[in-house]
Assembly symmetry: C2
Homo-oligomer: 158 residues x 2
Amino acid sequence: MTAPRWLDETQQQAWQGLLVILLRVFPEVERTFKANDLLSVQYGILVALADAPDHTLRLTELADSANTSQSRLTHRLRNLVSRGDIKLTEDPQDGRAKNATITAAGKRRLDRIAPIHAENVQRLIFDHLDTEQTAALADALSAVAVKACDHELFKHST
Amino acid sequence: MTAPRWLDETQQQAWQGLLVILLRVFPEVERTFKANDLLSVQYGILVALADAPDHTLRLTELADSANTSQSRLTHRLRNLVSRGDIKLTEDPQDGRAKNATITAAGKRRLDRIAPIHAENVQRLIFDHLDTEQTAALADALSAVAVKACDHELFKHST
DNA sequence: ACGAAATGATTGAAACGTCAACCAGTTAGG
DNA sequence: CCTAACTGGTTGACGTTTCAATCATTTCGT
């Protein structure tokens, strides 16, 4: 085994910032969603479908778009389907697969909540950053995000 | 009501990055903690105590240091105490309050896991950023974090 | 074509987080 | 003093997340 790669001071500051956002900011965002009978994950699901061609996505693709596990998707889909925000249809090509489609009602709910959510994010995050900081943040975070979506990364390295 | 403050393209990119980190990277970090009989929240608790003068903190301060609610702290403290990583003592000054102290065993567990965690964070986050990006990230995130810890922010504005 | 492996999706149990209600001890007002 | 309001902390119930096990369907190897 080699020497531990400790975080330097700057890295610690960045990591601590992420922790604060995870543990303080996101829960606040979640509370707003809950006040509108939604979870942030469900919001992500609705957004992914609204942006998809034909308002439809195979469940596996949907899970990937919404950054969730399949099982979490199944669980969260339950209420959305029973409530009529999303419709499920079996894929004619592949007997295992299902397609999810956002309904008009689902689209309406999304449109109602989206501006509230946007305001929330502005208030909690971007109101405290100038243009340069925001650009730098987008640059750094998307670099990390791109790699995180390369699933290779998660097959523990040697 | 006024016009919605939609996120511009850069802001969306930044926000999407945060979501990927929340929904993909943090769970991966959490799995590593779990493999060592710990939750990330508990790790935060142990770190806060290890860094505190006398290895001791009042529970309210501990909750704040670890970015958790009091009730979550209580719940997560249970195992840590019963397992001997932390000791609770009643405050002599204030009959309501309690102090938490990290024990030698707790410190040992922390020291065992810290390097694994550091390696994980490097691999998942900082290995994909150069020095400038890391500095910019630290700058922006800590600006957001500082504000998030001003609790005023969370008393929904008018 | 036939069985084995892989894929798409669901299930259920156990652990976790949240929230509101609560208890106990302390502070402050009259 | 005595009670009301407040603070520190705990509890329990409910909904969510995770994880491993499962089922059905499709693909692959030979």
